[in-house]
């Protein structure tokens, strides 16, 4: 089973992507996780990254590669990615939770502080998180950024939220 049959990556597939920082890098700082693994003619993530952490290069169908040491987790690549395939992960907290930034294009938007359901890549509910911030900016071009605190063990599993209401 893989994304080509079911439409979503398994965790193992994600961890093997060149856009996925190593577990050590993830521990060290807030970073982007680029879940893009097929040779698409696309490079806005590379253009968006002012830190030079994301490389597509030539040909344009290269799979994006991250240099996690340069990534400051700013999230601009996330809102510029036409495939909504980039997530920002902050594993540096020490309270057993991680902060996850998700690109979100559905209404209604969650509210700050709201408890939401966490869904995995297959859309199954895997737990509960708490929304810390919902950001919208002209620069994001109508892709909202939902920041949510999730149990640390779900940091690489949860990839979407669903509202309880």
């Amino acid at each position: 089973m893989s994304i080509l049959e079911d439409g979503y990556f398994t965790l193992e597939e994600v961890l093997a992507l060149p856009g996925c920082p190593s577990p050590e890098a993830m521990r060290g700082r807030r970073v982007a996780v680029v879940e893009c693994g097929h040779e698409l003619p696309c490079n806005p993530c590379e253009t968006a990254c002012k830190a030079g952490a994301l490389t597509v290069g030539t040909p344009i169908t290269n799979v994006p590669k991250i240099d996690a040491a340069c990534c400051d987790g700013c999230g601009i690549c996330m809102v510029d990615c036409p495939g909504l395939a980039i997530f920002i992960l902050d594993l540096t907290r020490d309270d057993g939770r991680a902060e996850l930034w998700l690109p979100h294009e559905f209404l209604p938007l969650p509210e700050m502080g709201e408890a939401v359901l966490l869904c995995d890549r297959a859309g199954s509910v895997v737990g509960e998180g708490q929304v810390t911030k919902v950001r919208q900016a002209k620069r994001f071009d109508r892709t909202a950024v939902v920041q949510v605190l999730v149990p640390e063990e779900l940091a690489m599993t949860a990839r979407a939220i669903a509202l309880r209401r």
């Binding site: 990556f9 879940e35 669903a162």
Partner: protein, 373 residues
């Protein structure tokens, strides 16, 4: 009779781009479109486009559409709407039907940018109200702001199917399933991932067995297909749905090229019968150019680049641009097209255009069965 240096048929992404390129070169351009609004299908593309910055990647199609319209208006292009082109005579006389009257225009050069039409799929119940093209659903929800249904089964997992499924969710519908007879998701996996994490099940190697309902769709049965595309009895899954949207490919809308006497080849990778055309986008009838889906079904980004090329070369042929200047102006668009068609997902278009080049002689050997000279 009216006169125009360049007549562009179709005001979608390809036609508007062709008009802009030709007008920029100094040509007098008349665009004719049968719809009440220009933009073709671009205004229902509300997702961010792929590509590089030269393709306005990251920008939403609807916004690209507005920019393109502004550009065309700024260049003083004449756009006539609500007018259907129904014939082309002697390679240069364009026959048009407006609401109240019929008229003709004599064109030095013609660019056909008529787009494509959605394919149907035959299964029991496919004519029931509630079964429609995915593009139809997209038009209803993104342009007219009406939901085509509440519980939708999407047939086809190419980019159209995946993107429209996502847009149905955004509009507030429930997508019950995406089914595809192929064993693999056909479109960009990132598009599949967006709907999968929103809870939409994707059934590869499945097809629709039947849609049931008294006067409209009330239930949809899907079943697994074997490696010979036959449904497997016993594998049926019944889905509670009121709508089936078909995203099973598009066919070039090439009637005008037929009646103009253009030579055609059947190239499945390009969506069916396509008018044979050169790298200058010129068909086998001198002075008639094609651009966008009519020349082979691809993405809107490709249509816009092809439009630029057709517009440039038509303007050059009309004497508005030296060949050297046209070559220079075309180069970035050719490079951009090559980039859009690169990689495994561009293989069909790439291969299709190559096959067309390779089989040109075959097209000339055929007896024309319809239309002109």
């Amino acid at each position: 009779m009216k006169q125009a240096e360049i007549v562009v048929v179709g005001a979608g992404p390809a036609g508007l781009s062709a008009a802009a390129a030709a007008a920029q070169a100094g040509a007098q351009v008349l665009v004719i479109d049968e719809n009440a609004e220009p933009g073709g299908q671009l205004f229902k593309q509300i997702h961010k486009f792929f590509g590089a910055s030269e393709h306005r990647a990251g920008q939403r199609g609807v916004d690209i559409g507005h920019e393109l319209l502004e550009e065309v208006e700024g260049l003083g292009v004449d756009v006539v709407l609500d007018a259907s082109v129904w014939g082309i005579y002697d390679g240069s006389t364009v026959a048009v039907a407006s609401q109240e009257y019929s008229w003709r225009v004599k064109a030095d050069r013609i660019v056909l940018a008529t787009g494509a039409t959605e394919n149907g799929l035959s299964f029991r119940g496919w004519t029931l109200p509630g079964v429609m093209g995915a593009g139809c659903a997209q038009t209803m929800m993104n342009v007219h702001r009406v939901l085509p249904g509440q519980r939708v089964v999407m047939v086809g997992s190419g980019n159209v199917g995946l993107i429209v499924a996502y847009q149905l969710l955004q509009a507030g519908a429930e997508v019950v399933a995406v089914v595809d007879a192929l064993p693999r998701v056909g479109g960009y996996p990132v598009h599949a991932a967006k709907i999968a994490r929103a809870g939409v099940p994707i059934y590869t190697s499945y097809s629709v067995k039947e849609a049931d309902g008294d006067e409209c769709v009330e239930k949809v049965t899907i079943w697994r297909v074997d490696d010979r595309w036959q449904g497997v009895p016993g594998s049926e899954i019944e889905l509670d749905a009121d709508t089936v949207t078909l995203a099973v490919g598009l066919s070039p809308m090439a009637e005008l090229a037929w009646v103009a006497g253009c030579r055609f080849l059947h190239i499945p990778e390009l969506g069916g019968h396509v008018p044979v055309h050169s790298a200058y986008m010129e068909t086998t009838v001198p002075g008639i150019y094609v651009a966008g889906d009519v020349s082979g079904v691809e993405e809107a980004s490709c249509a816009m680049e092809e439009g630029r090329l057709a517009g440039l070369w038509a303007a050059s042929a009309a004497g508005r641009l030296s060949v050297a200047a046209a070559v220079a102006a075309a180069a970035p668009h050719e490079a951009s097209l090559a980039r859009l068609r690169s990689g495994p997902f561009g293989a069909a278009a790439r291969g299709g255009k190559l096959a067309m080049d390779g089989r040109r002689d075959e097209a000339w050997g055929q007896t024309l069965t319809r239309g002109g000279a």
